[in-house]
Symmetry: C2
DNA sequence: CCCTCAAGCAGGAACCATTCCTGTTTGAGG
DNA sequence: CCTCAAACAGGAATGGTTCCTGCTTGAGGG
């Protein structure tokens, strides 16, 4: 899915739920679709300040909470760092570099299907987290 | 591996690194091997108080940090709850019940091997986290 | 047009698991 | 028994996130 499409689907998602697309929210969504590096709330806040200097950190948090609540974005909680936010709600692996903080995606060729686990364990699964922590090829060549 | 064996391997691990097995540390290790529910620092602290009323929360945290540093236990950071601690350093899935907080283990029949991912991506992997969030069979029958 | 009023916002205080700091205790090796 | 570094208890500090308060905005009705 392309950037503009993703942005559109979020904006549409907001409207469908009867929520307003304020300039502040628009700025947050804009940054989320532009920045592919799974930015943190603070990173989003700082970027949003450039186009909208009066925006507050609380508003960024509120907007992210709103989008998360309506399942338009995903909140990722990594070890030893701030929460990060992601448009991609698909279940894929995240590769987290402990040195530079970069987060890459990795498509699992043989995925573990939640349906199978549900059947085997009786758990009703809502969310999946698949993460590898290590050092990326740039930091440790 | 049985409880006593695990406890022994941790005690041995401590001694091999030249670390003292103080009564406080012994209490923490005892609880970790007894409580299979991946307890939090506070849970361990409260349990330790029963046999050793003078132990402080800082000491529990310090002991857990020490064991983690020497890779004798694993620190698990879950979404929306306190960190939990686990003796089992193997790579297995965790099933987390969002309702009662219970954490079960799930052995993946077709594991994703870190070595394969390393070869494909150039990442040097140190740690793996595989988690399913949902509702357990007891909470949603 | 203007009014109303709820939703949204900015700024800052509060929260709380975890870490850090300080002075005291402990116990192993001399 | 002495010494001294490691370990400890208690409490203060930290910092990302959430909560609170009073102000702003803009859509809908008159």
């Amino acid at each position: 899915m392309k950037r503009e499409q993703i942005k559109h689907s979020i904006v549409r998602g907001l409207k469908e739920q009867g929520l307003k697309l304020t300039p502040q929210r628009s700025a947050v969504v804009e940054i989320l679709t532009r920045d592919k590096s799974h930015p943190s709330a603070l990173t989003i806040f700082r970027a949003a300040r450039e186009t909208r200097p009066s925006i507050s950190l609380s508003t960024v948090y509120a907007t992210l909470a709103l989008l998360k609540k309506h399942r338009l974005i995903r909140e990722l909680e990594f070890e030893g760092m701030d929460n990060r936010y992601d448009m991609d709600t698909d279940n894929h692996f995240n590769l987290i570099c402990l040195q530079c903080g970069r987060i890459e995606d990795y498509i699992n060729p043989a995925p573990v299907l939640p349906e199978v686990v549900e059947k085997q364990t009786g758990f009703r699964i809502h969310d999946v987290r698949l993460e590898f922590y290590g050092v990326c090829s740039t930091c440790a060549p």
